[in-house]
Assembly symmetry: C2
Homo-oligomer: 527 residues x 2
């Protein structure tokens, strides 16, 4: 990924210290009474009895029953039972001879439209033991979400999409445990943060109504399912918790950000933005939360932009333009020869072109320019110019306009002004790498004092880690999902009006962006 | 089956009237609020919310989620949800458009070593709508339990046994719903009564330790499993409750009898016997229950007796011998030409031979006889004598001796005498067809006033029907299983001593059998 040198602002250790660890699965070392003629309870009954004090009646699936008998005898009636929190109670997930309670593994997963990341989590300490990432295998069917939703309606399309993300996930689980003493089978619990469409495609659920009014998903809060039922090649009985969403366009990935930011527990008014295919945002504090998604469009997706690409080696992720010479300095992922521009590079480009007067406040090229050459053909391995076109800019202007319009609508709905926002969170994996100043310059992020602006990093994955470790956090995110007020903007006329009028850089009302105004003034670019 | 003209003593209607119907699955007609832009809950979330008041958080498996969306739309937001009691809470089992709450089907199943019977139950009224039976497909691997346990230890043996009983069951489910408007898929719950070995083989559990000291099963109380997990071809999400047992030799089939008899709720001292491969018995009342199994051996199984056969068409099920002429009157199943003798016929034979002085009190042929010809070769289709041999008699004497010895041991263990027994229950399918007087004559049943003796019919199947319909009955049978005191006789020296001394007809102490004594006296057969 881009910008490997950047450190997420939210540090794992600090958060873990605040978690009351009470994980999705628990391991218990049991010293059982050995059966004899006067105590002829069955092996499963014996283990159930030993656990009933804490859990009440637990489900013991057929598939594990013979294993219970084996483990009891191999361990000479000393066994370690793994018990999982299921949707409606508790169930036996694993049983091993002897005391294995010190090895207790979970997987926290973020399924993005483009990238899938998983963290191997020590369920006792909360520490991340290993990380693995890969592109979402669904990319081969289409880079953007709408293409995949369309494909899911074709014969066998949904199952093909499901299998391809499963293949990605199972490959990641394999790599997470590669070269160590355990196997994917030893992962006894998982939590997944993802947008609603990704959850639908993972679970084989029909996503067609997500993009049709009134935009109703099959399920917003799947809750706890079983690994085998989903197709995850970890312990087949592992409970798998999907972070709940609040609507077709504000999914568990975004609520993961709300959870990780703690904005739902604080007094201060906070604004969280997760920029991806859509710009999803949440405004609020401990007393109330409102959310919406601006249909940002695919401006930041590799396949749409003329010279766009995913954040892969060779992608330009940082751009600086000299105001005088218009010479470009850029950095690529891996410092390799430039292949194309990824999302963060594109936002840098737009900001720099604006600051240098190459485009005007409406995002139009000045002086009859038709495109801006970031890297001339001679310097690229492909021998083609890497450019930003007017179309690319128009797409990006729409994205930023959608975010502006949605924020204004959210603020108006609760009767607040932009100046009242006390904290800003950039959520999601993409937000982790966006240049803060460039994002403010183009008006994608609000122009707040920088010390109030926090990057959450991969808050979907971190949210997954937290719910994996804490039943309190699971309750919290369920409560957030239930209580949040969701504005559906797809059919909202006020939003459309604001969207149309949000077509200026950084904003129609420049006073909302004082630092940008000051920079432009310093450059002599304000009349 | 034998004696089709006989009516079970326990009448379905009377018992159903006493049941507080609260079935394993419940159907609820739901009028849902139609979603719109201001209520964007997912379809599954909407259904969950509608059910949460009654059930709290219910499990909704992945496999049913798309079905929820479809049913909501097909039924125009009026749907019928079927909710099941799972081991640890509740789960969605089915969802159908419109109001289908009047069609609610369950299956009550008795899996015997020889015969499998299932009742199609209307879950709203408790009525039996249809019955189907078949031989247990495992018979082809061996008629008796020990052969099957042995085979289960061979490679793939356990799975072959499992598949063969599944095939039997699924065939029965098909026939239960043949020619009617519904399908096996419409059966939304099942309950199963069976001995411990049959439960192990059905669930694919290793039965090897059932017959090795200290005789520990993998599980005595499997609780609720899922139909798909077991392999039953009814609604794959149907909860399937297996009646709990109390030991390797006193299974759910016997506890079904305890449940059906109500002996666990009454003050009177009751004695329940279930004669099959083993003679299983329970003694007690509302305050205490003791149980044991006499290893009766295969005396009553078709394959062991020289002219033995299963209770199939052509089997001699009733025998009367004229004391003077020794002429035999017999009846066969279906009134067909005689092929062999089934268990009830064999017991009749033994009693009649004893009453006619053909055998002595020790069960030995008098006057140098080597075998008794029940039907001469000329009268049989096969052209072979149908006989009872000394070996057949010896086997049967062992069975009856085991029952006598076990009963004495149970009585001694609680400090009671035979005369204190206030009620006798003949449980199980086999007990339904045994001739009461013959069974008393040979000492298999105690010699009590006949009005105190009750046949329970197929109490395993009836027990399954009751737990299917009543959560109170499920709690009751779990409590019975937990509180019953089980005596393991396999390694009990007192039992062995009593067994050896129980070798007389009807009993070593003739005073225990006053009516038999009187009949013998009337026939001039007492010295």
């Amino acid at each position: 990924m881009a910008g490997k040198e950047k450190t997420p602002i939210i540090l794992e250790d600090r958060i873990t210290a605040e978690l009351n660890i009470d994980p999705l699965t628990e391991k218990h070392f049991l010293k059982l009474v050995e059966p004899d003629l006067s105590d002829n309870r069955g092996d499963v009954d014996r283990v159930r009895d030993a656990l009933s004090g804490k859990y009440g009646p637990i489900a013991v699936p057929r598939d594990i029953m013979n294993g219970v008998s084996l483990a009891c005898r191999q361990g000479n009636w000393e066994v370690t039972a793994t018990v999982g929190s299921l949707q409606n109670g508790f169930g036996l997930v694993d049983i091993q001879p002897g005391d294995t309670s010190s090895l207790h593994l979970g997987a926290a997963v973020d399924i993005g439209t483009t990238t899938v990341v998983a963290y191997l989590v020590d369920m006792s300490t909360g520490r991340i033991l290993n990380t693995a990432a890969d592109y979402n295998g669904q990319i081969k069917f289409g880079e953007d979400i709408l293409t995949r939703i369309y494909l899911a309606g074709e014969p066998d399309g949904l199952e093909a999409l499901r299998q391809s993300v499963l293949q990605t996930l199972n490959g990641i689980f394999f790599r997470l445990t590669e070269g160590v003493a355990f196997k994917p089978r030893d992962i006894s619990a998982a939590a997944i943060g993802a947008n609603s469409t990704m959850i639908h495609l993972l679970l084989g659920l029909d996503p067609s109504r997500i993009c049709l009014a009134p935009y109703i998903s099959v399920v917003n809060a799947p809750g706890v399912l079983g690994a085998a039922e989903i197709g995850l090649e970890i312990n087949p009985l592992a409970p798998v918790y999907c972070l709940p969403g609040v609507g077709s366009y504000v999914g568990g990935d975004v609520l993961g950000g709300v959870l990780v930011s703690n904005m739902y527990r604080n007094d201060e008014l906070a604004f969280l933005v997760d920029i991806g295919t859509n710009g999803e945002m949440v405004l609020g504090n401990r007393d109330w939360l409102v959310a919406c998604a601006g249909a940002a469009g695919p401006a930041l997706e590799g396949g749409v932009v003329r010279s766009g690409m995913r954040a892969e080696p060779g992608a330009i992720w940082q751009v600086r333009i000299d105001q005088q010479t218009r010479g470009v300095e850029y950095r690529t992922i891996g410092d390799l020869p430039p292949v194309g521009i990824c999302g963060s590079g594109l936002i840098d480009c737009l900001a720099e072109m604006f600051l240098c007067g190459i485009i005007d406040r409406a995002g139009k090229f000045k002086g009859g320019l038709e495109q801006f050459v970031v890297v001339p053909a001679a310097e690229t391995p492909a021998g083609e110019d890497i450019v930003v076109t007017q179309t690319d800019i128009n797409n990006l202007m729409r994205t930023k306009g959608a975010v502006n319009a949605a924020l204004e609508l959210l603020l108006e709905s609760v009767g607040c002004g932009l100046e009242q926002i006390e904290r800003f969170y950039a959520a999601g994996a993409f937000g982790q790498y966006l240049d803060l100043e460039s994002s403010i310059t183009i008006g994608l992020y609000p122009d707040l004092p920088r010390e109030k602006m926090v990057r959450l990093g991969n808050s979907s994955g971190e949210g997954a880690r937290q719910v994996l470790l804490s039943s309190e956090k699971r309750k919290d995110i369920e409560t957030i999902a239930k209580n949040i007020t969701y504005f559906e903007l797809n059919a909202n006329q006020t939003f459309m009006n604001k969207f149309v009028s949000s077509k200026f850089l950084p904003h129609t009302n420049m006073d909302y962006f004082p630092t940008v105004k000051a920079r432009l003034a310093a450059r002599g670019m304000l009349k």
